[in-house]
């Protein structure tokens, strides 16, 4: 994955936690999407996407989240987004009403 964003995954108490750090724009949205797909395991039914370390997200990133949620739903998986209350990305998600489509929580601990 290019330097612009890093994707890491870990399994924690039956949860698949995927962290996206850095910036997501049209230049790397497809790559990030692929990386998330690879990181997602079938260990649990809930996938937690941690965007705490995501410093930039534009419409292509939001599109990515919507499509990811749809793909996971097809596999009977649930997607939870972790975005801190005070982060700029949270405000963006609120603006696009994404929080009405995908569950957004403030901390990974709240995702279960």
């Amino acid at each position: 994955v290019s330097q612009l964003a890093h994707v890491e995954a870990e399994s924690r108490r039956g949860l698949c936690v995927v962290r996206v750090r850095g910036e997501v724009d049209i230049s790397n949205a497809a790559e990030v999407s692929d990386a998330i797909d690879r990181a997602v395991t079938n260990d649990g039914i809930t996938v937690v996407l941690d965007l705490s370390g995501t410093t930039y997200l534009d419409s292509s990133g939001i599109q990515l989240l919507i499509q990811l949620a749809e793909r996971l739903a097809d596999r009977r998986h649930q997607l939870r987004l972790v975005v801190p209350e005070d982060s700029a990305v949270r405000a963006l998600l609120d603006l696009t009403a994404l929080d009405q489509v995908i569950t957004v929580v403030a901390r990974v601990e709240d995702a279960t």
């Binding site: 290019s2 330097q3 612009l4 850095g22 910036e23 724009d25 049209i26 230049s27 790397n28 930039y56 997200l57 534009d58 419409s59 292509s60 939001i62 599109q63 919507i66 700029a88 405000a91 963006l92 603006l95 696009t96």
Partner: protein, 818 residues
């Protein structure tokens, strides 16, 4: 003055005082006269051989006119007892003085030489003797007759005897006395010569005596012996021989011996004097001839010997020059040739043969052989040059030609030929001469140097990228010596995450190899820089690469990442001189915190740490290679101090600073190359931000970084900044995605602040044929984030304008410091 000169001359010649000299001459004269009178024929005072006249001539020859008192005194003493009275004696004496004086004067006038070694000397003495003695004979005979000593009837015979006697005295005695001055020659003579001389004179004396006493007149038989003496010993032989023969012959006449017994006095006199004269004349002539011949032979021999010596010297000289020329030709790889056009012959110097891979003078050169090794592509040029020159009617140089030859062993050499045509006196080309220089090595070195230089030039960025918010300047000074191409390099890499990577490095060594290593390092660093965020990681990977690929060269590198967003520089340093940090106020210090070993074989890997340094706007970071600070005879520390000293001031213009540092620190003749690179963050928001972006997604991240900084400085809070950046990013993403048909025409982006309102404008030159991706989220997002969105679609592209008023409190107040 005359006195002192005379005295000086007298002292110089060690002459006897006047009186003593006079008495000595007179005494010798008297003794000789007594001997002569023993041979007197008439009375007791006329003698056929009068030695005193010869003595007097010698005295005048040796002493000049000063000798007259001695001669006069001697003559007076001799004549007084044999004259009737003192008056007649004085008259006779005067005649006896004047005659030899005249003889000496005549000899001098004729250029007589005392050595009697030329024919003219022999003739001169005969002329002087016969001529001058007319005076003494006339005066003497008149005195005899007048005084009554003889009768006038006997005057003629008395005069004749007197004349011949005096003449013979001069002719016989003078050469003998003069020959005595050459006795030194006997000292050099061999013993056999001396024995021969003595034996010859003895035989001559005996023969003369025998012939003079024999009845038939056989005196002429002594002539061969006299000739022998003259031939063998010249004057030394002829003078004594003549004297000896004359004395004996005269003695014989006087005593009425042999052929002279019954003849009349006059007839005897005539015979005797003729004989004496013949002996004297022939012996002296022969002696003079032999001497002359010997002298000319010696001169010839000397000339021949001299000539031979000169020829020898010249030959040696020529041989030496030839050797030097051959040495010079060999050293310079320079051969020479000559082509005689009329004769059609070609000669090559030894070195010409060597250049062509032959042994010197291995075979006679011909035109065919001379050009047989020339590369077929180069031959026409040479032939054209030769033909062109031959068509000319005046001497001129042919164009210099570089051509290739292939030697018999297959080796190809590059030669540089120079030639000249010479026109003969007949106006036709006579010969062509030329030199050939083997320039293969030079060409190879030149080519390598050119490749290395091209390589290095191509590896250095032609132009530094324009990064908004950062001022960059760089300067590279190649080594002034032609042979060396250095391994200094630098690079500026705009990273995908919007940061700026800056690298500077130095590969040890020079030339093609160093340039090649440098190129590999630079490319590797570029690759790692994109993959790694930490400069220390980039450097560590370079270490691994270098170790894995076993470069023998040592290399230093300093890699720095500048975060445009935060204005923080992070760097790692592998053996490179530390960067110099210059604060906006001009104070400077080196950033020496962490230094890792250089890249290269033999260095054990050690962890390389990142160093961070906040770079406020206006502060400068100076990266350089050691070529800038290293100087012969100056320690590195001193060099670094000098650089800091020169850089320590406020520089409004970075390019000017680099130029100043290079000029003030480098000597005119740079042995090593030097690179310098300066980086300075500059305030952004004070001016509108205008950028041209490649219509590609990768342009977006750097744009966001620049915008964030600009917005921060414009007074936007982080949330505002984020939202504006997202909105502008959407606009740009659309422009990029729909810039089809723009053929890569850059997007024009402008960010301005007016009256507390931020206005963003992006213009593309494409056609919006497709609907935006991102599910059509882009436009609504822009509208939600900004106060106002305008989309102006034109035939040649689209302009999108976004406006948003910043929150009150910081309107129009760009943040100058953080």
């Amino acid at each position: 003055v005359r006195v002192s000169v005379a005295r000086a001359r007298g002292l110089g010649k060690r002459e006897l005082p006047f009186i003593l000299r006079t008495i000595l001459i007179a005494a010798i004269y008297y003794v000789a006269a007594q001997l002569g009178l023993e041979l007197a024929l008439i009375e007791r005072n006329v003698t056929p051989l009068w030695p005193p006249s010869g003595i007097a001539v010698v005295a005048f020859l040796l002493l000049g006119r000063r000798a007259w008192p001695g001669v006069a005194l001697g003559a007076l003493i001799v004549n007084t007892p044999i004259s009737t009275n003192i008056l007649w004696a004085a008259i006779t004496a005067a005649g006896n003085t004047i005659a030899p004086f005249l003889a000496a004067e005549v000899l001098k006038a004729l250029g007589f030489r005392r050595e009697i070694d030329r024919l003219r000397d022999a003739v001169a003495i005969v002329v002087a003797a016969l001529g001058s003695m007319l005076v003494s004979a006339t005066i003497g005979a008149v005195a005899l007759a007048a005084s009554g000593a003889i009768r006038w009837s006997g005057f003629a015979s008395a005069w004749a005897v007197w004349w011949t006697g005096d003449a013979m005295g001069v002719l016989v005695v003078t050469p003998f006395l003069l020959s005595l001055f050459q006795v030194r020659r006997w000292a050099r003579a061999t013993w056999s010569d001396r024995v021969e001389a003595v034996a010859l004179l003895t035989v001559l004396g005996a023969t003369t005596a025998a012939m003079a006493s024999s009845r038939p007149n056989m005196l002429f038989a002594v002539i061969p012996l006299v000739g022998w003496a003259a031939w063998r010993f010249q004057l030394l032989g002829s003078a004594p021989a003549a004297l000896l023969v004359s004395v004996i012959a005269t003695w014989a006449v006087d005593h009425g011996w042999g052929p002279f017994d019954d003849q009349r006095l006059f007839a005897n006199m005539l015979t005797l004097q003729a004989f004496n004269a013949t002996v004297a004349l022939s012996s002296f002539l022969l002696a003079a001839l032999v001497t002359e011949r010997t002298r000319s032979r010696r001169a010839l021999e000397r000339a021949a010997a001299e000539l031979e010596q000169r020829v020898r010297n010249r030959t040696a000289e020529l041989r030496e020059r030839e050797r030097q020329l051959a040495d010079a030709q060999q050293l310079a790889h320079l051969g020479s040739w000559q082509w005689l056009l009329q004769e059609g012959s070609i000669t090559w110097s030894d070195e010409m043969y060597r250049i062509h891979g032959y042994l010197p003078q291995e075979f006679p050169m011909t035109f065919e052989r001379a050009v047989e090794q020339v590369h077929e592509e180069d031959l026409p040029q040479i032939q054209a040059n030769v033909a062109g020159a031959l068509a000319s009617d005046r001497s001129r140089a042919l164009p210099n030609t570089e051509y290739r030859i292939t030697r018999a062993d297959g080796e190809e050499r590059v030669l540089l030929g120079r030639a000249r045509l010479e026109i003969g006196p007949d106006g036709r080309p006579s010969r062509m001469v030329g030199t050939v220089q083997d320039v293969t090595e030079d060409k190879r070195a030149q080519r390598e140097h050119a490749i290395a230089e091209t390589l290095q030039r191509s590896l250095l960025p032609e132009q530094l990228p324009m990064i908004p918010g950062v001022e960059l300047a760089a300067h590279y000074v190649p080594a002034s010596t032609e042979a060396d191409v250095g391994g200094d390099w630098y690079d500026v890499i705009p990273l995908p995450n919007g940061h700026l990577g800056v690298a500077i490095g130095d590969v040890a060594g020079h030339g093609l190899r160093a340039a090649a290593v440098m190129g590999q390092l630079r490319m590797a660093l570029r690759a790692y820089a994109v993959e790694e965020t930490s400069p220390a990681r980039v450097v560590a990977r370079l270490q691994d690469l270098v170790r894995a690929h076993l470069f023998t060269e040592m290399a230093t590198v300093l890699y720095l990442v500048f975060d445009l967003d935060t204005s923080v520089a992070t760097f790692a340093n592998a053996g490179h001189p530390p960067p110099l940090s210059i604060a906006p106020d001009g104070s400077a210090r080196y950033l020496r915190e962490v230094l890792s070993p250089p890249l290269g074989a033999g260095w054990v890997s050690s962890p390389v740490g990142d160093v961070t340094s906040a770079r406020p706007p206006g502060s400068t970071l100076l990266l350089f290679t050691d070529g800038l600070v290293e100087r012969r005879g100056v320690s590195l520390r001193e060099g670094l101090d000098r650089l800091r000293h020169e850089a320590e001031r406020a520089w409004p213009d970075l390019a000017e600073m680099c130029q100043h540092l290079v000029t003030s620190l480098l000597e005119p003749e740079v042995k090593d190359d030097a690179a310098i690179l300066a980086l300075r963050p500059v305030p952004l928001a004070s001016v509108p931000l205008r950028l041209r972006l490649a219509p590609e997604p990768r342009s977006l991240a750097p744009l966001r970084h620049t915008m964030r900084r600009w917005l921060r400085e414009a007074g936007a809070d982080p949330r505002e900044s984020f939202e504006i950046v997202v909105a502008c990013g959407e606009a740009c993403s659309n422009a990029i995605q729909h810039a089809h048909g723009s053929r890569g025409t850059p997007l024009e982006v402008e960010l301005t602040l007016a009256g507390g309102q931020v206005e963003f404008k992006v213009r593309d030159f494409g056609s919006w044929r497709h609907e935006p991706t991102g599910g059509g989220l882009g436009l609504p997002l822009m509208e939600k984030l900004m106060d106002r969105v305008e989309v102006d679609r034109r035939t040649d592209g689209t302009v999108v304008r976004l406006r948003r008023r910043l929150r009150v409190g910081r309107i129009g107040e760009p943040a100058r410091s953080r």
